[in-house]
Amino acid sequence: MTIMTTGETGETAAAGGFQVHLDVFEGPFDLLLALISKHKLDITEIALSSVTDEFIGYITALADAWELDQASYFLVVAATLLDLKAARLLPSGEVDDEEDLALLEARDLLFARLLQYRAYKEVAALFASRMAEQARRFPRRVQMEPRFAEVLPEVLIGLGAAEFAAIAARMLKPRTPAAVSTAHLHMPQTSVREQAEILLARLRSLRRATFRQLIAGCAGTYEVVARFLAVLELYRDGLVGLDQADPLGELVVCLALRQSSQQDPDQEDDRDHD
């Protein structure tokens, strides 16, 4: 049996640009395969970087209709495709740098997953035709002739009344619509802004301190991270100066001179980047 081309293929690919049609693709691989076959391309590196724009066009067109978990799969693939396309635009040399290697790995992984997906998709098509064919045959399944019904072995329910009732309860329980679980979210336990205030307070008395000193007493990694981010924010705003003799060396933080004239950190809003 020959491998059949699956999905929404070619003929509709009229000349001139990408046309948005509202096919719903079963995931990013499905879309990618459809695009590749539409252009009658082999699954090669060229194919991947050539269809990048259309892929991105598709997910942009669907921007309002995304479901979150689905979108993330698409975005990961889109990011990888963009990387690959960017890499092709640059003069290519030998792979010598770690980023190139990572890119190659990402590409190979994407290939592998795409091929794997295609294999399952083709088998799924076989399943479909097989099932359609089988649906034309009806199995013998009729009531037992009475004379034999009597000799049927006893039925074993194998449950106590309570267990039986539990099954009924499970079946009859009204179905609550599926809700998005928020169990994995947690409340932030601190904020960068809060940490910035602590930092400034300390520096006002110390004027100058190592980062190590400044994080003494932090309640956990999250607080250390927040305090470090606060250092960066304050530095960006010119409120503190930084000094680090060598990479990974001791980081020294000092209060900027103009800070002596008490600027209220509360006016600082850590969302107003850019």
Partner: protein, 204 residues
């Protein structure tokens, strides 16, 4: 021997029909009778195979005779105003051994679920049970009837659908003396249950 996925769809052309189009009348009748649950009147068969009743009767008789002549394990008989395939009387011993063979039959999860819904919602139609379970229950219901755990209980006045209820044998197998011994569902239902209708229903 076993079918592989690459099989071509079996020879779809003709199946002994005159002029090679479609199955013949005999084959069509055999196929219909194979899936028929109860005796099928000649008129119904004639309509299904789209032939005059007289032709159909002739073919049925010839089929029945040929099964007997060839001493097949099945037997085509005219009973209760219709035709149905039965096992041949001579084979009763083997069939009995097959049917009674093996241990007690354990109900499948699907059967248990269907039985549970019937027990607490009886009398209830297949459609209702299917709706509760979210999946068609026709086959399972048939098994439960066959096993004597469930029986027909008239028809729904509005829809005309066949209704089902549990049997005394069901109570016996579950070790209950009556339906009133079925545990209340309330302790099992976390929320104020059942928007669909009045909880336990007319269980007794």
């Amino acid at each position: 021997m076993t079918a592989t996925m690459t099989d071509q769809p079996a020879q779809a052309q003709d199946a002994g029909g005159p002029a090679g189009e479609g199955p013949g009348v005999a084959a069509s009748l055999e196929a219909v009778l194979l899936v028929a649950d109860e005796p099928v009147p000649e008129s119904v068969l004639a309509e299904v195979v789209q032939r005059p009743a007289a032709d159909v009767i002739a073919v049925l008789r010839e089929l029945a005779d040929s099964y007997t002549r060839e001493r097949r394990g099945f037997d085509l008989r005219e009973v209760a105003g219709g035709w149905r395939l039965y096992t041949r009387a001579e084979c009763a011993g083997v069939v009995q051994r097959f049917v009674s063979d093996g241990q007690e039959v354990r109900l499948t999860q699907a059967a248990l679920e269907t039985l549970a819904v019937v027990a607490y919602r009886q009398p209830v139609s297949r459609a209702r049970v299917s709706a509760v379970r979210g999946v068609n229950c026709d086959g399972v219901m048939r098994t439960l009837v066959l096993r004597g755990l469930v029986e027909e209980a008239g028809t729904d006045q509005e829809t005309g659908a066949t209704l089902f209820r549990t049997t005394g044998y069901f109570l016996e197998r579950l070790g209950l003396s009556g339906l009133s011994d079925l545990p209340e569902l309330t302790p099992f239902l976390p929320e104020a249950d059942d928007m669909t209708d009045g909880g336990r229903g007319n269980g007794q």
